[in-house]
């Protein structure tokens, strides 16, 4: 085990694996920054290049690329409120708010460093995967998955930003939107209005890009200033401050990493869920919820860590059972076959050095990218100073290229426009957008697992120990929130003269 641990490290750093990893990093960097071109699509396009590589080189190349897209995906989220990947969407809320306050550097620094910590955390959990995580993975069934989505939905309360009614309406609308497409067990179409485009449901990226990106552009055009309200963007120490925040709020970073890893382990939860779960948890656990959405650094750190930690988690079912934990892992599974490897128990015994080389790739790739990014971050942060007349066409181009590259479909542009209008109205009338997205990303898992739980276990699924445990967690979270609110208002009253 110790041998494999170090041998994996040496193999990643030896030639040509290291060279392939650097190429992978460069590709991943570009893909992450450009919205729309997702990591799974890029992985699939890169598969033909690995035919002649050794397993260590191939995974250095592919995993290096994958892990970097998650890290750099946050950059456009923060600067322009356009998520580069569905997994970076939650960073928009507070990250972009920070950028508007002139603290883009700080937000970027925090996002990158929390990503690094999350990636390392996720990668090292593979070390304990054999004794702890694999049994955990097999002990959770559909009823537990369902309860986890309920836990996620309970964050709607925290994310409503003042008006619970508005939050619940938006969460419900999100669940309804997720129902558009194909019924998962009868394969019949619903809410598709005879449009083939809607058969596979609404695509997430065009929807999120429209919902968050367009209103920001409109606001920018109305204000006529640059993104950052202040002229001095290097205020508060900029990037270095964000790096320090990662460790100052180490509990947030760690919590995000843990949430990301657990969500990653569960196959079918999907990459777009982890960051929202982490964000929701942060808001719910926070004493002062009103800071969120206006530029709370914890709102960047939690999801930043979670979206990188989930890759380490998602590798576990992929390696141990041959069952991909996420979309990109499904394509990585194809890479295994090309390389003549069969995922399964062998990966944790005979091929342990390859498994460890994957872990090291994730760690080393993130260290390199964060180091390189630190150099360019200061200049990137200056983009928030460019005046609106120049930056708006550029942002609009990013938005529309981003939404169309996912499927090359005209419908995606319409979705962006439609949800852009919806987003503007919501921003204007102060309706929260986070619950809507939460409903959309959780809806499909919510529905499927509820159906399976009931059909499989009848009413007995309610008394499974895991279900009761998660239920208590949910109740505890809600109760904690109520008590705290009472306490705070009590403090306010007693302060009154």
């Amino acid at each position: 085990m110790i041998d494999a641990f170090f041998s994996g490290f040496v193999q990643v750093l030896s030639w040509p694996s290291f060279g392939f990893m650097l190429i992978g990093l460069a590709v991943g960097f570009a893909v992450g920054i450009l919205p729309g071109l997702g990591s799974s699509v890029t992985l699939a396009l890169m598969l033909p290049f690995i035919y002649t590589m050794t397993p260590v080189s191939a995974f250095a190349f592919l995993l290096g690329m994958l892990t970097v897209t998650n890290t750099t995906g946050d950059i456009t989220s923060i600067l322009f409120a356009i998520p580069g990947e569905p997994s970076s969407a939650a960073v928009v809320l507070d990250g972009h708010a920070l950028a508007k306050r002139g603290e883009a550097g700080r937000a970027l620094g925090a996002a990158l460093f929390s990503s690094l910590v999350g990636a390392i955390f996720g990668a090292f959990t593979m070390l304990i995967s054999v004794p702890i995580l694999i049994p955990l993975c097999l002990s959770m069934g559909s009823p537990e998955f369902f309860m986890l989505t309920i836990l996620g939905l309970s964050y709607i309360a925290a994310l409503s930003g003042g008006s619970m009614t508005k939050g619940l309406i938006m969460g419900g609308l999100g669940l309804l939107i997720s129902a558009v497409g194909t019924n998962p067990w009868t394969a019949t179409y619903r809410y598709t209005f005879g449009q083939m485009y809607l058969w596979e449901g609404l695509p997430l990226i065009p929807l999120v890009v429209g919902l968050f990106g367009i209103p920001e552009v409109v606001e920018l055009a109305v204000k006529g200033t640059s993104i950052a309200a202040t002229t001095d963007v290097s205020r508060l120490g900029g990037v270095a401050e964000g790096v320090k925040d990662t460790f100052r709020y180490w509990k947030t970073t760690l919590r995000g990493s843990i949430i990301g890893t657990i969500v990653g382990i569960i196959p079918g939860m999907g990459g777009s869920v982890a960051n929202w779960m982490a964000y929701g948890y942060e808001v719910q656990a926070a004493r002062d919820k009103s800071r969120f959405g206006k530029g709370a650094i914890e709102g960047v750190l939690g999801p930043g860590a979670a979206n990188n930690a989930k890759e380490g988690g998602a590798l576990i079912p992929t390696l141990a059972f041959g069952v991909p934990g996420s979309g990109s892992m499904a394509i990585l599974l194809g890479a295994f076959l090309i390389l003549g490897l069969r995922p399964g128990p062998d990966m944790l015994t005979r091929h342990l050095d390859i498994t460890f080389s994957m872990m090291w790739t994730i760690v080393i790739a993130n260290v390199i990218v964060v180091a390189v990014s630190l150099i360019i971050l200061k200049h990137l942060a200056k983009l928030t100073q460019v005046r609106s007349a120049i930056i708006i066409p550029f942002i609009l181009l990013l938005i529309y290229i981003g939404s169309v590259t996912a499927n090359n479909s005209f419908g995606d542009l319409l979705i962006t426009l439609l949800f852009g209008c919806l987003g503007c109205l919501m921003a204007l009338f102060n309706w929260p957008r986070a619950p809507l997205i939460l409903g959309i990303v959780l809806g499909d898992i919510f529905e499927k697992n509820l159906y399976i739980s009931i059909v499989r276990y009848g009413a007995y699924w309610l008394v499974r120990p895991g279900v009761i445990l998660i239920f208590l967690l949910i109740i505890g979270g809600i109760f904690y929130g109520v008590v705290q609110k009472k306490k705070d208002s009590g403090v306010l009253k007693s302060n009154r003269p």
Binding site: Y51, W185, A187, W199, P267, G322, A330, R456
Partner: protein, 382 residues
């Protein structure tokens, strides 16, 4: 001075133009000077595909079976086509496989440069059942090749089943997890269990989305029967369960032989087909409408993955490509690489080229309306 600059610019522009327009075209003037040279060279007709690009329109997204199949072909097929064209793969996902298939059928140019790659066991039954959105007629498309797929089923030892014929009397109810009613595995596992063997203690739960989550559900005991692609049979995870006696393989879908008989899939030669197991349990061959439907469905597995031209493509292009495919399957490197990447060598009898596969598709679609109606009702749960 100005004239000199102008002249230099003109000269360089001409040079650039010559380079851009291609070395061959640039040399044309010189050929006029030496006509004897050109005349002595063997008179050769330039192959149609020389310098051209063929586009494979894969009707699914990147990753997954059809995409892998397309990219594998794109790598190996060009060297067997006269003129050695390049092949690129363009993904056109949506509507199951209907968006890509409809596009190639209706809109793609009929010049021999557009080829559909899709899951034939999805597109053809969709046409048979008259699913919403089907705008194509597969019998009008020159299908160039089809490759065979198949599935196998195993049960958990907790059901008390020790050998395949025990499925009739399990100790506990058999529960299978699957994608949806109407998916490939639902045909291969649920129709035999419910309608052919008529196992009373059997239930299928749908909604698992794909094979992976359904397999995990089996591993954690949420379900106790699982149906998977034959290619998964060799996976260590499954082999280990079989070796330890936790999983008992009960039957396979099999594949259609040249005379319409049900054969065992060459990847899993030890597992009985549904017909063999029925014979073992009941002492007679299976018959009846459910069996006819099932047999018809298995015949669609001979075109699990297909490549097809749009209708009205010149017959000469069809012949050239079919010949290229025949040469391809003789290529030992293709056999080795396709076995390494997809799990089994895509050569005959698993790969069927040209007229035979078109005939199989026609036969499948020419089935009696009674069978279609039965299947349609079964999918709708009536």
């Amino acid at each position: 001075m100005k004239k000199l600059v102008l002249a230099i610019i003109l000269c360089s522009a001409l040079t650039v133009f010559t380079i851009i327009s291609g070395v061959e075209d640039g040399l044309k003037p010189f050929r006029l000077v030496t006509p004897t040279f050109a005349a002595t060279a063997a008179p050769k007709v330039k192959p149609f595909y020389e310098g051209k690009i063929i586009t494979f329109i894969a009707a699914t997204g990147p990753g997954g079976g059809t995409d892998t199949f397309s990219r594998l072909l794109a790598r190996f097929l060009p060297r067997h086509i006269p003129g050695k064209p390049k092949i690129i793969v363009q993904n056109m996902p949506g509507g199951g496989t209907l968006v890509g298939t409809n596009y190639v059928y209706l809109k793609a140019k009929r010049d021999g440069l557009s080829i559909l790659t899709a899951s034939g066991s999805t597109t053809v039954p969709a046409q048979q059942l008259g699913r919403e959105g089907v705008l194509y007629d597969m019998t009008r498309m020159p299908v160039l090749m089809g490759t065979t797929t198949g599935t196998f089923c195993f049960v958990s030892s907790e059901t008390g089943i020790r050998q395949p014929k025990d499925i009739m009397s399990p100790k506990v109810e058999i529960i299978r997890g699957g994608e949806s009613r109407g998916s490939g595995t639902s045909f291969d596992a649920d129709i035999p269990m419910q309608e052919i063997f008529k196992v009373k203690q059997y239930r299928a739960i749908y909604g698992y989305g794909s094979m992976g989550p359904a397999r995990l559900a089996f591993m954690r005991g949420e379900t106790n029967m699982h149906s998977d692609n034959v290619l998964s049979y060799q996976e260590p995870v499954i082999q280990q369960m079989i070796k330890e006696g936790r999983a008992i393989v009960v039957f396979q879908s099999g594949m259609m032989g040249p005379r319409g008989e049900l054969l065992r899939h060459p990847t899993i030669p030890d597992v009985p087909t549904v017909a063999e197991l029925y014979q073992q349990i009941n002492g007679t061959s299976p018959s009846g409408i459910a069996w006819e439907v099932y047999r018809n469905l298995i015949s669609s597995r001979s075109f699990g993955k297909i490549m097809a031209f749009p209708p009205e493509t010149p017959p000469q292009r069809v012949q050239e490509l079919e010949q290229a495919l025949r040469d391809l399957v003789k290529d030992p490197e293709w056999a080795a690489e396709s076995a390494r990447i997809t799990g089994e060598a895509l050569v005959p009898p698993l790969a069927i080229i040209g007229e035979p596969v078109r005939q199989q598709i026609k036969d499948y679609l020419a089935t009696s309306p009674e069978i279609t109606r039965w299947l349609d009702n079964w999918v709708k749960g009536k």
